[in-house]
Every structure is written in C-alpha cells, then in structure tokens.
C-alpha cells in the first residue's frame, strides 16, 4: 500500500481523522442542542440571519428546532418545523458514513450523487425557499412558523 501520494505535510495525520472529527463535532453539537430548548428565550441559540433581516424563512429555518425535536424523540414535530432538513439529514449521515469508509480504505470513493440528483436538490431547495414563505394554506405548513 503506497502512502507516498500524500504530501509530506499532511502525511502525519491519519486519513480517517477528518471524518471522525466532523462526526464528533456533529454529535457534540446535537447533544448540546438536546439539552437546550431553542424555543425558550434566554437560551443562547442564535436565530437565522436571513429571517432576522428579512422576516422571511430561509431553507434552513426551523432546522435547529427540528433537530431539537429529534433529540426529544418527537419526529412528527421535527417534520413540522422543517421538512427539507429532515429529508436531507439522513442523506448527510449516509454521505458521512461513505466518506469515513472511504478514508478507512473500505471503499474506493465517497458517496457520489449523479448530476441529475444534484440539480434536483438545488431545485428543491429553491422551490422550498420560495414556497414556504407563501401566505396560503397548504404552503404555510412548510413555514417554520411560531411553532
């Protein structure tokens, strides 16, 4: 197994360090969030800059509350806060696992999405961004809302 493909500066860190670090960071952030309800004022969870300055929802709005609901085991509520984040989260977990497997040498490449899938995701984000801000009933369910 050749290791000379890595430049000497990087060569000292184990290859699996990056995905493990990211995984630990994500777990730590989630665990911290689990103990702090973002809906209670005074808890130091930052709001969304886009929403603060425009009053409109961005695609991620409600995401923090959604993850909090997950840590409390309330999956239904999580979907109410942000459907898109709930759909993207499992995908990110799978991608992370594939990245880790790649860095451990179990796979030849990390998770690869087709171009079509990428465009679909970009479109879905844009559509979601606009649609969740529309003031008519079916769409208001997508908004992060007051609850």
């Amino acid at each position: 197994m050749t290791t000379s493909t890595l430049p000497p500066v990087v060569g000292t860190a184990p290859r699996w360090l990056a995905p493990v670090a990211v995984g630990i960071g994500a777990l730590a952030a989630t665990a911290t969030l689990g103990s702090v309800d973002p809906e209670v004022r005074g808890h130091l969870i930052p709001g969304c800059p886009f929403r603060t300055f425009t009053g409109l929802d961005c695609p991620g709005c409600g995401g923090t509350r959604a993850v909090y609901a997950l840590t409390q085991g309330d999956v239904a509520r999580a979907f109410e806060h942000n459907v898109l984040v709930m759909l993207v989260l499992p995908l990110l977990v799978v991608a992370w696992a594939a990245w880790l497997a790649f860095r451990l040498g179990w796979r030849t490449r990390p998770l690869v999405l087709s171009a079509r899938a990428g465009y679909t995701i970009a479109t879905a984000f844009m559509v979601f961004w606009v649609v969740r801000n529309l003031p008519w009933v079916p769409f208001t369910w997508l908004g992060s809302g007051a609850g």
Binding site: M1, T2, T3, S4, T5, L6, P7, P8, V9, V10, R15, A18, P19, L44, P46, G47, C48, P49, F50, R51, T52, C58, P59, G60, C61, G63, L84, V85, V88, L91, L92, A95, W99, F102, R103, G105, T108, R109, P110, L111, V112, L113, S114, A115, R116, A117, G118, Y119, I121, A122, F125, M126
Partner: protein, 167 residues
C-alpha cells in the same frame, strides 16, 4: 484506481491534461502530479516530450496537489489513465448542501449547481473541466460559508452581547 489507499498506484507516468489548467499538460510521475506543466500546443505538436520525461522530481518539494480539500481530495487525484478508471475529484456537493442549510444563502445553491455540472463533466470524462467546475463550487461554498459565519457572529454581537452586559 482509487485516489489512494488501495495500493495499486495510478496510471503510468506520462503527460496528461493538466486538471488545473485546461490547455496545458502536466507530468504525472506515476504516483503524483509534478510541477512540470506546459501548453498542449507545444511545437512538438503534443508528441512525446522532447529529451524524454523530466527528471523524476520527488514529492518532497511539496508534491503538487491539485483538487481542493473537502471530503475526498486531500491527496492527489491522478489523471484518467489507460485503464479508464476515473480520478477522485471532489465536487464539493455535500459541503454546498451543508452551507445552504446552515447559512441560509443562495450562494450554497450556486455551489450545488456547479457541483452538479462538475459531476456531469466527470460522467463525460472531461476531468479537467470537471476540476474547474468543482473549483467554482468550492469558491461559492466557501464564500457562502464565510458570509454565513460572519452573519452568525454579527447576530451574536448584536443580540447576545448587549443581553449579557445589560445584566
């Protein structure tokens, strides 16, 4: 060929299209890219390099490492060799998605679009163009991430610090 880790090495040493400079060719020493890059339309019409290949430079000179950071390409991404296997080019798709969700900016979506374009080029085996597109995805993602981080920090300063000092 994997980017690294499965031990086979890459395509044989030779001149290959420079992934970072379309229109150039770069010497691949069999294990890594080197610093030898020259225009494709050299006077020899792109034939074998005159005087034989450049002396095999070791990668101790900081072996040239094209391709961005991100998930996959911390090392080298070799050229598509005669074996036809594709190099591991990081399209920055996942990073763009994360930035879009966390930083609430359209720049993340632009990153996703460029990532998808890069993926198309990879499917069409235009690896040099794919590298360019991936680089654009990386740029937008990093800018979006930077602006997002600054706005989070700004909000912290605007709302949290006064709250702290008011007590």
């Amino acid at each position: 060929m994997a980017g690294y880790g499965t031990g086979q090495g890459g395509p044989p040493p030779g001149w290959y299209p420079d992934p970072d400079r379309p229109g150039n060719r770069r010497w691949w020493d069999g294990l890594a890219w080197t610093d030898f890059s020259e225009p494709l339309d050299a006077s020899d019409g792109g034939a074998a390099p005159s005087g034989g290949p450049p002396p095999h430079p070791t990668t101790s000179g900081g072996g040239y490492s094209p391709g961005g950071g991100g998930f996959a390409a911390a090392g080298t991404t070799g050229p598509a060799g005669a074996s036809g296997t594709a190099p591991n080019i990081d399209t920055w798709l996942w990073q763009s998605i994360v930035v879009t969700v966390l930083c609430c900016l359209p720049l993340g979506i632009v990153g996703i679009v460029f990532s998808s374009q890069a993926q198309t080029e990879i499917s069409n085996r235009n690896y040099a163009v794919a590298q360019q597109k991936a680089k654009q995805a990386k740029t937008f993602t990093l800018i979006g991430g930077g602006i997002g981080l600054l706005s989070w920090l700004g909000m912290f300063g605007l709302f949290w610090l006064p709250f702290m000092f008011a007590i």
